[in-house]
Symmetry: C2
Subunit: 381 residues, 2 copies
């Protein structure tokens, strides 16, 4: 406890204090070679008394590899991203690795575009990239470096990581609405970024379009509204969609956050949900249950956990626990969807109000019962 104020204690000070050489201290620190019991005790005592902690930079330099895992993500306040990160953290917590966080926030901005450069700059032991698809150039450069890369929420032939089948997810949501009898179904999703954008929203839309096409339903161009990701931007987009006499009777939003924006828009227009408009989201974030949102559930935290475990495998580290299965998408039916005929304002108000209560008995089905298992669903491996 007599730690000299100011600069940190070094291994040399410990060695001097214990009356041994530096490598001996290093040996008791790392157990890299046998040390006499008596010596070890003296060293341990000095370490304790001086309050010594090895300098990670020196250690990393000497060993030729750092103990940091670099995590790059688009925006930590986005609930889906946040949950994936939480899953990853829960794994790394059980390991000697540190976590360095890079939040791009505006991944589309010019100077932040080069994932590979960010990775190169950090000299980390490994990198996890969440919800950001590397460009071709990034991929080539990332493959050339030695440190492993794991992707979350993105599919790639170049790197390990699991992405969900967004197309199938879009189909699940749309089939649900179709099964309820809706024929005019709108879509609210991400404005596409040609360069670095996550294709999830676009793929969910493809699923939506496919199902409507198969059902022989034409999609009106103005039933699709795109905006940068976020609740307020989605609300604005949804206003375009809903503030018309010939509005759709249902909306599929590419994420729960955007579904919230749609609900907000509906309410500000005096439209009842689901009386006047049904809304389906995607993700099943924590607050979805609170507002009774019907949504397609994906297991966000598990994706982070699996990424962490994959990383440890690649680093040759023992896994703190077994790799969990990656659960399939499933529809969670709550109270923001109903048949278009069921427009009993008061009753549906009551239903929405008790939405959270209803969620306790909520039904989860991978596919809408009205359709059952459908073999035509294209399962991308």
């Amino acid at each position: 406890m007599q730690e000299p104020s100011g600069r940190p204690v070094t291994i040399a000070q410990v060695a001097r204090d214990a009356g041994v050489s530096i490598p001996t201290v290093s040996r008791v620190l790392n157990g890299s070679a046998p040390v006499a019991e008596e010596t070890r005790r003296r060293v341990d005592a000095s370490i304790e008394r001086l309050g010594y902690h090895p300098n990670p930079m020196a250690r990393g330099l000497s060993r030729g590899l750092s103990d940091v895992v670099l995590v790059i993500l688009p925006n930590i306040t986005q609930p889906s991203v946040n949950l994936r990160l939480a899953g990853l953290i829960s794994v790394l917590r059980e390991t000697p690795y540190e976590l360095t966080l890079v939040d791009l926030e505006h991944p589309d901005s010019e100077r932040k575009r080069h994932l590979a450069d960010i990775v190169a700059r950090h000299h980390a032991a490994a990198t996890v990239i969440i919800s950001l698809p590397p460009s071709t150039a990034d991929t080539l450069q990332l493959l050339r470096q030695a440190a492993p890369v794991v992707l979350v929420d993105v599919r790639s032939d170049a790197f390990p990581g699991d992405g969900i089948d967004d197309i199938a997810g879009g189909m699940i949501a749309t089939r649900h609405l179709l099964g309820l009898g809706h024929r005019r179904i709108g879509f609210v999703g991400d404005a596409e970024d040609r360069f670095i954008g996550n294709p999830a929203s676009a793929n969910r839309r493809h699923g939506y379009e496919q199902v409507l096409f198969d059902a022989g339903i034409d999609i009106r161009p103005d039933d699709i509204a795109l905006a940068p990701h976020g609740m307020d931007t989605a609300k604005a987009a949804a206003l375009d969609l809903l503030d018309r006499s010939d509005r759709p009777t249902a909306v599929f939003a590419a994420s729960d956050v955007q579904a919230f924006g749609v609900m907000d828009a509906a309410r500000s227009l005096g439209l009842d949900v689901p009386g006047d408009v049904s809304v389906v989201g995607f993700d099943d974030i924590v607050t979805a249950r609170l507002v009774g949102l019907t949504t397609v559930r994906q297991h966000l935290e598990v994706s982070g956990v699996r990424a962490g475990l994959r990383l440890l495998e690649l680093l040759g580290q023992p896994l703190p626990f077994e790799m969990p299965e990656f659960p399939e998408l499933e529809l969670v039916t709550r109270s923001t969807t109903a048949s278009p005929g069921d427009a009993h304002p008061i009753r549906s108000m009551a239903a929405a109000l008790t939405g959270a209560a209803a969620s306790e008995k909520e039904v989860s089905t991978a596919f809408d019962p009205a359709f059952g298992r459908d073999e035509r669903i294209p399962r991308r491996k």
Copy 2:
């Protein structure tokens, strides 16, 4: 682009490639000394061609200080914590500092208790501690080390950082309910952790108790329910509170997340909010608006921004922008509170349903108009 596969390029390789000495490369890298224009160009070309990036560990070792800012927080999925962190990130993004994240997740667990040890282990340039009050022992140890420490959401004489006046916040919320005519007001907050717990919940409760005391109202012990922080735990606690015939007519929750739990509990009991129970939260997180929650707004992101700027000051770095004021607490009145007499189920359902719409015209007042500015409010400086 011909970067040799495998290990990263070193400064030595660049020097050889450019036909200069290592220190010369270092000079063009850091501009630490004049370099001939012609030489500089050759070096820059080599750097570009080899894809060289300085090794941060070596750089840190040599300079005697790292470029990482250590951030310690209790749980990144907690919306308030998440937003504070986002504010901090937005500042650090404009600087050369990296961010290393330590998420304690269960700060009460034995082995994770010693903030000072975590700090010592990392040898960071500076540390930010979010929503975790250092113990006395931690404080002493943290003061002894050279790297600056900034707190967020915690007040301390030892370290800079701003915490809000939680007692006043609790008073604002309780006065609002009192002004509506409630006389039986419950409280749902954090179960207290004697060692490392954040005192925010307890202080908000003190404000609540003070206001009721001043109003001559006795608080029944079973009108106060405490549970570990979280929506589900708060729901369970609220069930104890509300599943009685003599339940309170209003509940003040120590955070929005807990208010959500209370609302969930009310709904699962078939109670209308605000018809049967009014609910007030604390924080005004993003989703509060969505569900129309009346709450005490604090500016979470600003707290992170200010912490980041304080840090830069302490590190002698230029500030990327001016230090924003720290806004005062304010009551945001939405649709989860009403007078206890106003129990018109259908009407209040409709009100709740259109809560988000109502939020567009929401009234923000620092104090309930019924009370006006109250000089008796103890302002802890």
